[in-house]
Symmetry: C2
């Protein structure tokens, strides 16, 4: 239950075991079109979808090199490890990076973004994050999108660990480029980065001279006109993604988002019931980041969860290293998975000397679930 | 039986169907080390192996951006579609590309390479191809490697469609960077590019300022010191690759190469027995490219092979479009697969009006196989 890679549904795993066939074929084109149509529904967009064979970072690199020419200004909303990656990418490729920085664990203010954009008319695009995976903060992508749109700039959002579980209305919220990874809420093995690209983004991309080669999005758009990819696609992963997307669509994207909200509320209520504190007051519904009591050794705590219960959670990064744990409620996760994880957490905390009342976390979790008795279990 | 993606062994496919687990773990590190050790044996190298999540083209881009700074000279040995990709990559990233061009289907002369390197002392590296997939030419990577080494330059070889079936002694032949794809002779789905990198290549890479971000090989080297990857690796594909590598090593790399030679000789003898002509006098043992009689419509021929016999071959590219077919004898291909393919070829040629003697191709093939009665079947 780390924030990715997540569990993959059986139906998608079995697809991976099917023999590999060629990709310049009608069956590939049908698969390719089907997965794009499904992704458009999940991401709530009419925009083009580019599918890259890379990790999520490759998708972020594609967004930067296609949208920003060397010397141009980009604004990065900076609040954690993955926001930092936007800056590093911009600097690597010669952009002038302007930062709006808030402490790890805090959200951005849309008004401040508006001020910066007003003061810096040369900023071409704003780069932000839907869920900052290092802190569990859910940023207000809708409100920021409004000010970015009002200032007539491009809005680029890293939704790698959150699209497909956190509400994300790409078009309504004015997101010009959304970057998503296969291995998080989309329940597919790592290896695919997905980008939705708005008409305004395409206009800017056409003006950028040096878009690289492997990540040149115009090559992907050109190939897509015949339902092809510019380079050999990882067809097995695409076939698995198509299955996982179908599973999400069968649940319905609004229901998936509601499940994320329910599991997040359940988790927060439970950890607070045993006296733990959340890392942020603005938590995402993709995951919950929780401060550990000072008496608890984070490494030993995570190791014991894994060795005793087979439960893998994530620890902290950067300033939170050794101080927090992160539990994801995305992808193939349902009510009882969360209940089990919470039981394991309180049992191991108790075992490691923390004065928790056994059962308190699970009791608080059940109280939230009791209020949601009519919500169906998807898996 | 196209030159990739090729069939994947059952054992590797079943591995793909296993649940995805996290990668910052001891089991991942063991897998990662195991697959690198296996690849070093297959590629006959002691060099570092970098494993990228990308198509083969991503591996080629990594070689170019890491070795050549903008404005530096690179020599491209130019004889087909994939050699052309080296040039395009060089130009895209600001290198000064010098070409030694021979017509499609012809090999390079090592002496000419030596002359060019003597005349152009600023050339930093030579970029060539082990098997040019668009023409089926097997280039003399050993002889060229010798002159490149004598001239104290770097030798970079695209072996995407050939390493693991064509003899390739990376270290003995002085290959500084070898680029390999997962989906060809290595019998794994597409999605991984593998590079072997010599100490001399690392020295040059350290001097290049702008190596990109996703493809920055120094980040891969740094992560590899702890058996990690810089970005989320496609663990499922890596696990499948480990299985396929084991299968090749069980056969033994020398036996694999011998199988390639045998299947190539068998194929050539058979197509010549029915009056067809090879595209090149310097064929690779990875694949055979064959000219079609003018009376045959290539598209209809390939479509009929597929619809009647379920046999997928590749057609021509560039100047060979509509004029040739290409049959690969790499990966999960044994004697009887080749016999079947040859039977299909002569049956469809006959059906489409070509005056072939039915059975002649297969008879010639059997004559070659009869001389090789002691060679074991690997699969």
């Amino acid at each position: 239950m780390t924030p990715g890679p997540t569990q993959v549904p059986e139906q998608s795993l079995l697809t991976l075991a099917r023999q590999v066939t060629h990709h310049r074929t009608d069956d590939f084109r049908a698969l390719f079109d089907r997965v794009q149509a499904g992704l458009r529904e999940i991401l709530q967009t009419e925009n083009d979808i580019a599918i890259l064979c890379s990790s999520g970072t490759g998708g972020m690199e594609a967004a930067v090199v296609n949208l920003i020419s060397p010397g141009e200004k980009m604004l990065v909303l900076h609040s954690g490890k993955f926001a930092e990656r936007w800056s590093t990418l911009g600097q690597t490729f010669g952009a002038e990076v302007i930062r709006y920085e808030v402490p790890w664990g805090e959200p951005f203010e849309a008004d401040r973004v508006a001020e910066i954009l007003a003061a810096e008319p040369d900023i071409k695009a704003v780069f932000g994050t839907l869920c900052e995976t290092s802190t569990g903060v859910g940023h207000d992508v809708r409100a920021i999108g409004q000010v970015v749109k009002d200032a007539n700039r491009l809005w680029v959002v890293d939704a790698i660990s959150s699209a497909g579980i956190v509400q994300c209305r790409t078009d309504q919220w004015g997101i010009d480029v959304l970057v998503v990874g296969s291995q998080k809420a989309l329940m597919t093995p790592p290896g695919l980065a997905l980008l939705s690209i708005s008409p305004s983004a395409w206009q800017k991309i056409e003006q950028v001279d040096q878009r690289g080669f492997y990540f040149d999005l115009l090559a992907y758009r050109k190939a897509k006109s015949t339902s092809d990819t510019p380079f050999t696609p990882p067809k097995s992963l695409l076939a698995a993604l198509a299955e996982s997307v179908d599973i999400l669509l069968q649940e319905g994207i609004e229901s998936v988002w509601a499940r994320g909200v329910r599991l997040a509320r359940t988790t927060r209520a439970a950890v607070e019931a045993i006296g733990l504190e959340l890392v942020t007051d603005s938590p995402s519904t993709a995951m919950t980041a929780v401060k550990l009591p000072e008496s608890i050794d984070a490494k030993a705590f995570l190791a014991r969860l894994e060795s005793r219960f087979g439960l893998k959670l994530a620890g902290g990064q950067g300033p939170f290293r050794g101080k927090i744990f992160r539990l994801a409620h995305m992808g193939l996760t349902d009510d009882l998975d969360i209940i089990g994880a919470l039981a394991a957490i309180e049992l191991v905390l108790k075992e490691q000397g923390c004065p928790v009342q056994l059962g308190a976390a699970v009791t608080a979790a059940e109280a939230v679930l009791a209020e949601n008795a009519d919500q169906k279990q998807p898996f």
